[in-house]
Every structure is written in structure tokens, then in C-alpha cells.
Symmetry: C2
Subunit: 107 residues, 2 copies
């Protein structure tokens, strides 16, 4: 697995943290489909995601701007899956929308 | 494991993504110590972290403002451990500093 690459800031990050329910039937297929779908979303820049053995997951999706975030939020298949996920798969979740101001790294 | 709670935005997020090297001797102890240390840092608000079986990790630390981020960056034990980590434990990493503008969730 590799880290995503993003252009120079500024851009936006959607930070999604969640606790996956033990009753997660159908979750992994749906998550894979969402990763596939978001890659085609206008203004999508990249995504980094991890989930540990304690079932806590942190997924950060990067978008060009707020317009791109709104477009992805309203994408019909994503919206339907999101509602299902919130009702069924997550014991808890948080969404934070943030403007990336600077970035650096090494690879 | 639980998700952290944070106050109403605005505040800042430091998004740290990494690929842990297979040669990770000493890493887990150092990481635990850094989690302990950051909780005492002025302006620290919370942290969410996950690492999956593919060795990709996503850690998001929340701070009150840029002053708090700078204070944590310059904390001597953290600075020493960070340099060691970058040289030894990570095959790749990225740091993004972002201003959280809105947040919502369910728990």
C-alpha cells in the first residue's frame, strides 16, 4: 500500500473517523465500491485510509475545493451507501472538513 | 477504543500519514510515549489514529491553533523521537496541516 500524492496546498481534506460495528456484513464490499466511485468524482485528489484491530478507522479524502466536496456528498450512489452505513455499520463516526494550508513529507 | 471529542471549529488538524517499515524495532514503545506526551501539550485537543495490516497509518492530531502546533513541534523529546522515526521507522510519510472549518457526527 502506498500513500496518496496531492498537489500543492491549498486544497481540502475530509477527515472521516469511525468505529466499525462488530456486525459489519456487507461493509467491506461497500467500502471498496466507494473508494472506486470517489476516484471518478470531479475535483477528487486522493485518499489515505487505515483501520486497526480495535475497529477504529481514519480515512482522509482530499478534494480540490468545497464545490468538489459538495458534488461527492450529493453523488446518488454515495449518498445511499452513506445513509446505510450510518444506520448499520458504525457504532460512532465523525466528519471534519478542513482546509489544508501546508504539507511536506518524504518517500 | 473510542473516537476523540473536539470543541466547535475552528481549530487545527495535523494529518500524519505513514508507511511503517518492516524493521520497526522500538517503534511501538516510542509511539505510545508520544501519545502520552502530546496529551500534556498546551493547546492539544485530541487525536485519532489507526494503522492497518498493510502498515499504512493515519493519525490526526487536533490543536487549538498554530501556536499550539509549533509548541508541540518544538517539544524536545518529541523533536528527538520524530527525527529518529523519520530516519528509521518510516518507509514514507506525509504531514498536512489543515484548519478544521466544520464538523459533525454521531456516537
Amino acid at each position: 500500500m502506498e500513500l496518496t500524492t496531492t498537489p500543492e496546498p491549498p486544497y481540502y481534506a475530509v477527515i472521516f473517523t469511525s468505529v466499525l460495528s462488530p456486525d459489519d456484513e456487507g461493509y467491506h464490499e461497500a467500502a471498496e465500491r466507494m473508494f472506486e466511485l470517489v476516484r471518478a468524482a470531479p475535483g477528487f485528489l486522493g485518499v489515505d485510509s487505515a483501520r486497526g484491530e480495535d475497529r477504529v478507522g481514519v480515512t482522509v479524502s482530499y478534494f480540490r475545493d468545497e464545490v468538489a466536496i459538495a458534488g461527492w456528498r450529493e453523488e446518488p450512489e454515495h449518498a445511499a451507501t452513506r445513509e446505510k452505513g450510518r444506520a448499520r455499520w458504525y457504532d460512532a463516526f465523525e466528519v471534519r472538513v478542513a482546509r489544508v494550508e501546508r504539507a511536506y513529507g518524504s518517500r
